[in-house]
């Protein structure tokens, strides 16, 4: 299976529909985080990751370090047919392997994540292993901007740059938010590209909601250093009231960006969100 043929049928709107449907059914949050990485996952699983089958030991690896966006990944994997579509209905259910954060027992989930700052060091080890084994497999790791608060991110960044792990690409979901507020208000993350560049990484930026732009950035010729693609995204992308931090039916809540980090949708909010998707 060629890389470009793997996922021709997975479109962002399908993924968003699945995210909203499952979040509503399970009545859980982390919706905005999932919505912001939809195009990134569609690009990776469309024309970037080279995976003949999910258990091929020499497949490219993908680490979803921002594990709280797992529902978006489950939706992509279901649309690809790697997991049963019906299995999505077990999301957050009893004894389910589809929790809010992903577990590596699922095909397409190479590593279990959920604790921010952990995934990148695993990805660096995975890239080092590929080099030691003489494999040309590539390692991709999706982190968030807020996750860059974690010191372990920078430990891993230093090691990868020192060893010139050019078979490692990080995608940074720069949606500007973290759990309790704007990243700029919590712990300033200005000049992210310069910071990564100073750590010895090649850097690039992309429109995080353009599959084409992301694919081009991820498939661009690689140099001798690890690479980071900073994907400029909007938290809650595709649902207007989430992008603006408005809790429509929970009127006692003030308008603030973090609302849709945690809130589940009411039935009314779900309907508005789904209608918006169809109209977009």
């Amino acid at each position: 299976m060629s890389a470009s043929a793997q996922n021709a049928t997975v479109s962002p709107v399908q993924v968003r529909r699945a995210i909203l449907t499952q979040s509503r059914r399970a009545n859980v949050g982390h919706i905005g985080s999932g919505l912001s990485v939809v195009e990134i996952l569609c690009a990776l699983h469309g024309g970037v990751l080279r995976i003949s089958r999910p258990d091929d030991p020499d497949r490219d690896r993908f680490v979803l370090s921002k594990g709280h966006a797992a529902l978006a990944l489950y939706a992509v994997l279901a649309l690809k047919g790697w997991i049963e579509a019906a299995q999505l209905d077990s999301y957050c259910g009893e004894d389910s392997v589809l929790g809010v954060h992903p577990e590596s027992v699922l095909p397409g989930v190479d590593f279990s994540t959920g604790s921010l700052g952990h995934g990148l060091s695993i990805a660096v080890g995975s890239a080092l292993a590929a080099r030691l084994q003489g494999s040309n497999r590539h390692i991709y790791c999706l982190i968030s901007d807020g996750e860059c608060n974690e010191g372990s991110i920078w430990e891993a960044a230093m090691f990868a740059a020192h060893h010139k792990l050019s078979n490692l690409t990080v995608i940074l979901d720069k949606n500007g938010q973290q759990a309790m507020g704007w990243t700029r208000d919590v712990c300033c993350l200005d000049n992210l590209a310069e910071r990564w560049s100073a750590f010895g990484w090649d850097t690039a930026e992309a429109d995080g909601h353009s599959v084409g732009d992301l694919t081009a950035a991820l498939n661009a010729p690689r140099g001798e250093r690890p690479r980071i693609v900073i994907a400029n995204t909007r938290f809650g992308r595709g649902v207007w009231y989430m992008e603006q931090g408005i809790a429509i039916t929970q009127k006692h809540l003030p308008q603030r960006p973090v609302n849709w980090h945690y809130l589940p949708m009411s039935e009314e909010e779900f309907g508005i969100a789904m209608s918006g998707l169809e109209e977009a």
């Binding site: 030991p57 590596s104 190479d110 590593f111 279990s112 994540t113 959920g114 604790s115 700052g117 952990h118 990148l120 060091s121 695993i122 990805a123 660096v124 080890g125 995975s126 890239a127 080092l128 292993a129 590929a130 030691l132 084994q133 390692i139 010191g151 372990s152 430990e155 891993a156 230093m158 090691f159 020192h162």
Partner: protein
């Protein structure tokens, strides 16, 4: 024990290319034999223990067997969550190697005293914990466990007091008896076991027959062996250079209580919080009541039924 570790690892690495050695920038005058012989499989991860364990996780998923080395407090405690969510959660053959048991880095101060590592590691059921009592046993243990499919924590001693009667014996899920005796039992863990043996020798001169056994691994726990040993002994002294929460005493007490055995536990371990002092290992053991004299005295008190440890 460092020498036993690196020599054993070199001999394994010579025939198994999956073996890698990572260090958190420690191991001066210890790592060199491996570094020189297997340069392409040696990585100094820098002073970054979280990343070192993360690296090891990624390497192990690809089929390698990485050994991640540092001083025990830095190897086990700083990256605890990376161990938990990495090799344990993924069931991968990462070997975390903690050097310096108890107060062996005594003069380095409390930051370097490994008093909780075994108790903390024991909280992870998916992690095998190996605590050799001397170099000979360390070599046997490292060799016999290196191909286990799951993760392992090795607590290795910096100093090396030999226990000749142990003859390097090691078996997962078993204890190793080094002295027989029916009056009192002494169960010891790690390099401090030599103090327990010396205490038994002192007691023997007084006509007290003390059984001594070394507990050198958890998960699988040596529960049957401990129960068998303690079934007909009225008192057991547990000896560990660890705080009492979660380590040897906690394990032994659970075995006794859950089986309704009549044996009483006299736990010797570290009971007091750091007070700002430090000093050589031997002095630290004496201060905390863990040297041979205190072990022997605990046995005498137990047999006289006096007080509590």
């Amino acid at each position: 024990m460092r020498r036993a570790f690196i020599d054993t690892l070199c001999s394994l690495a010579a025939v198994d290319e999956r073996i890698l050695l990572l260090t958190g920038d420690l191991g001066y005058m210890a790592m060199e034999p491996f570094q020189e012989r297997f340069a392409s499989r040696f990585f100094n991860a820098g002073i970054a223990e979280q990343n070192m364990i993360g690296l090891a996780t990624g390497l192990a998923e690809a089929g390698m067997i990485p050994y991640a080395y540092s001083i025990a407090t830095f190897a086990a405690l700083r990256p605890f969550e990376f161990i938990r969510n990495g090799p344990v959660l993924h069931h991968l053959p990462v070997r975390v190697v903690g050097m310096g048991a108890g107060f062996e880095y005594g003069t380095a101060g409390p930051t370097h005293h490994a008093l909780e590592d075994i108790g903390v590691m024991r909280t992870l059921p998916g992690l095998t914990v190996v605590i050799p009592a001397d170099s000979h046993q360390a070599a046997t243990a490292i060799r016999s466990t290196y191909e286990l499919p799951g993760p392992i924590y090795y607590s290795l001693a910096k100093d090396d007091s030999k226990i000749p009667e142990l003859e390097g014996r090691f078996e997962l899920g078993r204890i190793q008896e080094v002295r027989e005796g029916a009056d009192v039992a002494i169960l010891a863990m790690g390099s401090i076991s030599s103090e327990a043996v010396a205490a038994a020798d002192e007691l023997a001169k007084e006509g007290i027959r003390a059984a001594v056994a070394v507990v050198s691994n958890f998960h699988p726990d040596p529960e049957e062996d401990v129960a068998r040993l303690l079934r007909n002994v009225p008192h057991v002294i547990t000896v560990e250079a660890q705080t009492l929460s979660g380590g040897l005493a906690a394990f032994v007490a659970t075995v006794i209580a859950s089986r309704g055995l009549g044996c009483r536990v006299w736990p010797l371990g570290v009971r007091t919080p750091p007070d700002g002092t430090s000093g050589p290992n031997r002095e630290r053991l004496r201060k905390h009541g863990l040297d041979r004299a205190h072990v022997a005295e605990a046995a005498r008190l137990a047999l006289r039924g006096v007080g509590a440890c």
